[in-house]
Every structure is written in structure tokens, then in C-alpha cells.
Symmetry: C2
Subunit: 330 residues, 2 copies
DNA sequence: ATGAAAGCGCTAACAT
DNA sequence: ATGTTAGCGCTTTCAT
């Protein structure tokens, strides 16, 4: 965007070589003398030449950029993943388009179309879509799904959600809880059902019966969780533990309990999931499952690079470990 | 990225027109019959044709994408702005590159260079740089600065920081505080100095002397604020109010006070800035200044569009209103 | 080791 | 109203 942007042509002229040679030097393709290389590089530096990405992209059909589609960049958990993705791909000199889908499938598709039109080399995708990846199959765009796994996804990276659910529930069980409410997102997200599975398995392991009445489904939001919890209390349901499938819901539950003068962890113990900073900073710091956002982002980039370079011969599925972060609520 | 991507050429052939006509239809440049238009559009739809952005960009020298440089996408305040920017520019069919600078000037420059190489049409920039915008002047890339204002910036959008600082301090003053600690980021950020100015003006207005010993500078972080506040208490400094220039710092202060058994708002009242959700969810919900992230993003996009379209004849400086959100800490 | 030239897909003169 | 054509800046055969 300089007033008069210099091009290969200019560099070639100034260095007394052909444009082909300039291109070779710039791309380290060999077949030039050390001397020529130096000369070209000097001129390049002197004139602050940078190759025109559009031209390059047009010619090579690769754009050196990727897209990342997230449900809500405002959510710390997703923001951290995005940040890790960016950090991890920076060394490869890729740029990243961020698309916030607002948990809306229509917007997701629009964004995906935009990204394709922009010639991205690959996409990292946290999709709200529970099912298939139909349109991704058509075009052979490399896509790695993270956090939520649509069926038939070829490449995925996710936390060990089931074990996380297990750990969370086990923590409650070990601290003596017998009637544990499962406060879960009702959307058909793989992450949620996996966490639920962990909840069930922990019960089995500890020989405690899962009580279905204690399931309180709803949206993933703070408000719904708060309301659902309040309802349970007001209906007189007895319970001594809550496992919320994410921290925002755990926080909502906490507030509902506190408002009803129920002591945490005295009367009811509480575990969340994600480990967003809110869970550590609230009235009663909440025990939670830490997701390693750093690792998730790194791994997603690694896998995507593999796909983009055509080095992946078969499906790529990665699971990153989670850990229990015990705080005051248990 | 389809297996065999269709091009204007294909569409032209299939529709029995020239490629020029196809281009005209697609860009609504007129000089074609309604009938031709229909035919072309049908074919386009039928074959799912999308123009190659690289080619278009190469030809027109515009990429239909912008860059956004933020200090920390993980910070809810910045994330909200990013989201608003995205929402606002979506209708124009621009894509946005996100660059997280980690508050690091070197990274900022690298990102900026990358963006320029990627041919972005403009940049929205939350810079850590306190000074100038030297290199932006060279290349005539449209840049709008938000939140933090380097000197000589041509286009800026920011909150009414001074008034925010005034409102915050006034709230403390009106509730009877006489000795108000200013807990501020020591980095030379325009936003901080403006808020400080508001703090001073409020004192003047209410005839209360500003006590310089009560200034506690430090980084913008939770931990530093907590530590600084603890120090004040331990040194036996008397104060009855704290104005922290952002919510994370306010939270740090709150925790330090609580740990020292100082009642909030009983003994010390506290006001923050930003209105991130954390400030509403903590032990003692913190009174704060709400920044209208929505409006900031919208306005930034409006201004940037103006610049990109060459419609701005002179410097563009916008200030968006703030408001006081009274909670429990005052 | 180097150069000439074709062509990626598109837009915009310039014809007609 | 429509077509022909040059050329954006680059990579990549194919020569030499």
C-alpha cells in the first residue's frame, strides 16, 4: 500500500537480473549464485520490498492464511484458544481470519463461505453443528474441529471431556456427596454428552446410583443455570452436590444457592468446568476442571498444518488431558 | 478450493457471453440486458461460482479485508470490541484478520507488516505505543486507533475517559469519601491519563484536595493492584475510597481489602472502570464505569469505511459516552 | 546459473 | 448491450 509499491520487476531491474531469479532467491529455490543472492537480497532490503500476497496467492493457489470460526470470542475459554492458535501459527507466517458465529448455524455457513472465497488454506472450526460436516467434504478444504465434534469430522482436537466429567463427579463423591445434580447444557454438543458420560461412570465406580430427577437441562448460560437451581431448591428437591458442565453455569448455581442461604460447600458442594477466571474470583471460588487451552490451540495448528501440507494419511483425532482444580466450593 | 473451481471463463462460456459481461453482471456495473443478467446469474448459482478473491484483489488492489490489532483478545473488554467490529463490518462483506500483540510493540510491528503484506484495506488498531504513528504515515494505509491514542493519530475512537474518571470519582466523593486512592496503570496510555484528569477535576469541583501520596501506580494487572493496595494498608495510610482505572485492578484492590478485614463499602468504597463481567460477579459487586464497546466498534468501522472510501477530508476524532454503573462497592 | 514467456482469474479500458 | 484485450505481480516450466 505504499505510494509506489515496488515489485519483482523493479527489484530485477535494480539488481540486473531477471524476475525469475528474484523469485528464486526470494523463495530459496536454488539455482542462483551466492553472489546474485546477496545482490538481490540487498536491493530487496534497501527498497523494503514485500511480495504482493494476492499475486502470490493467485499464482500458487495458497494464501498463507487460515480461518478460525468460534461461537463467541467474548467467552474467555474460546478467546484463549484463539490466542493459542495465533501464537502457534505465527512462526509459519500465516495470518488468521477470526469469525464469530454467535452460536448461529446460518452465520457459521456464511463465514465458511467467506473464508473459502478468501482462499484460506485451512479452517479451525468450533462448530455449533452437532451433525455432519457435509459441505466440508465437497470442497477439499482442510478443516480441524475443536472442542465440539460433529460426526464424521476427519480431524479433531478436544479435551478429555469424559475424564473431566469423571474427575468432577469423583471429587464430589469423595467429599461425601450422594445426590449430585447434573446441571448441563441441553444442546446436543459432543462435549456435553461426554462430560455426562463421565458423570455416570464416576457414579458407577463409586457405587452410587444416578438419580435422574436431578438432571437440570437448559441453555449454557449463567441465568438459566441460576434459575434452574433456584427451582430445584424451591421445589424442595434434596441434593448435596452440583456438577455444572461449564463455569458460567456453575456460577449461576452458586448465586442461586447463596441467595437461598444454602452454604457452599457446607450444604452443597459444587464443581464447574473450563476454569475461566471468573470461577476463581467469585464469592466462593469454584472447584473446576481445567481445560488446557494452550495445548488445544497448539495441537489444532499442528494437525491443520499436517492436513494443509497433505501429510495426513488418515483421520486425525487428538484428546488433550484435563485436570481437577480444587478450590473452595468442594 | 473446489476440486475444479469454476472461473469467469467457464461461466462466460456456459452463459454464451463474454467474460467482460459476466464481470459486469457480477459487479452490477450496468451495460447488460436484464435477460443476460438473468442467464448469467442462473449459471453462477447453478455452478456455485464464487469469484477468486486473490485475482480480484490483485486486479483492483483492494482485498475486502481489514486487520484488527488488539493487546489481548483474552481480555473481555477487547474481545467485546472485536466482536462489535466484526458484526459491524460483516454487512460490507469484509473479513477481519485478528492480531493479538500481547501488549508487545515488536509484535505489533510484525503484525502490521504482515497485514500490509496481506493487502488489507485498513486497520483498526489498539496500540500499546504511546507515541506517534510514524510508519503508518509512510504507507497511506487507513488506520483508526481506538481506546488508546498515540499522538498524531489521524482517526481515533475512544470512550469519554475523562468524564468516566470524573463520574467514578464523583460517586466516591458524593458518598462521603475524602481520601481517595488513585490506583492506576503506570504505562503512559492516553486512556489512563484522561481518567486521571477526570479524577482531578472531580476533586476540584467538590473542593476536595487531591492527596498525591495516595497515588499507587503499577501495572494494570490484578496482582499488582492487589499488592499495592495491601502495601497501603500495611503502611497505615488512611484512605476511604479507591478509584482503580480498570476493573481487574479494582478486583485486586477488593481482594486485598477483604483479606485485611476492611469492609467494602463500609470502610472503603471502590470504583472500577470498563464493566467487565467479573466486576459484577465478585464477592462485592463493584461499581464501575461502563464503556460502550458496541458503539466503539461500530464507530470505528464507520470511520474506517470512510477512510477506505476516501471520503474523509479531515481528521476524524470520536468520543463515545460512558456511564456510571452503581453496584455494591459504593 | 540465468532468462523468456506463459498464465493464474479477474477488471477495465477501448472497441463495436 | 456486448466483446476483445491488456495487464495486475507472481511462479514456473522450458530454454540456454
Amino acid at each position: 500500500m505504499d505510494n509506489k509499491k515496488v515489485s519483482v520487476k523493479d527489484i530485477a531491474r535494480l539488481a540486473n537480473v531477471s524476475i525469475a531469479t528474484v523469485s528464486r532467491v526470494l523463495n530459496k529455490n536454488g539455482r542462483y549464485s551466492a553472489e546474485t543472492e546477496q545482490r538481490v537480497l540487498d536491493i530487496v532490503k534497501q527498497y523494503g520490498y514485500t511480495p504482493n500476497a494476492s499475486a502470490k496467492s493467485l499464482r500458487t493457489n495458497r494464501s498463507q492464511s487460515i480461518g478460525v470460526i468460534v461461537p463467541d470470542i467474548t467467552n474467555e475459554f474460546f478467546a484463549k484458544i484463539v490466542r493459542s492458535i495465533e501464537n502457534s501459527i505465527l512462526p509459519y507466517n500465516y495470518s488468521v481470519f477470526i469469525c464469530d458465529s454467535h452460536e448461529d448455524a446460518r452465520l457459521e455457513n456464511q463465514h465458511l463461505a467467506n473464508l473459502i472465497a478468501k482462499n484460506v488454506d485451512g479452517v479451525i472450526y468450533i462448530s455449533g453443528k452437532s451433525d455432519v460436516a457435509a459441505q466440508d467434504e465437497e470442497n477439499d478444504l482442510p478443516v480441524v474441529y475443536i472442542d465440539r465434534m460433529p460426526e464424521h469430522a476427519y480431524a479433531t482436537v478436544q479435551s478429555d471431556n469424559e475424564y473431566g466429567g469423571y474427575l468432577a463427579t469423583e471429587e464430589l463423591l469423595r467429599k461425601g456427596c450422594k445426590r449430585i445434580v447434573l446441571l448441563s447444557d441441553m444442546r446436543p454438543l459432543s462435549s456435553v454428552s461426554q462430560r455426562t458420560m463421565g458423570y455416570i461412570k464416576a457414579h458407577e465406580k463409586y457405587g452410587v446410583t444416578v438419580i435422574n430427577d436431578l438432571k437440570a437441562d437448559g441453555g449454557a448460560s449463567y441465568h438459566i443455570a441460576k434459575q434452574k437451581t433456584a427451582e430445584l431448591v424451591e421445589k424442595g428437591v434434596t441434593f448435596d452436590g452440583i456438577f455444572a458442565t461449564n463455569d458460567m453455569m456453575a456460577l449461576g448455581a452458586l448465586h442461586a444457592l447463596l441467595e437461598h442461604k444454602i452454604e457452599v460447600p457446607g450444604q452443597v458442594k459444587l464443581v464447574g468446568f473450563d476454569d475461566i477466571s471468573l470461577s476463581g474470583f467469585c464469592e466462593v471460588p469454584i472447584t473446576t476442571i481445567t481445560q488446557n487451552t494452550e495445548r488445544i490451540g497448539e495441537r489444532a495448528v499442528k494437525v491443520l498444518m499436517k492436513l494443509m501440507l497433505g501429510e495426513a494419511n488418515d483421520a486425525q483425532h487428538y484428546v488433550v488431558p484435563v485436570s481437577l482444580n480444587v478450590r473452595k466450593s468442594t
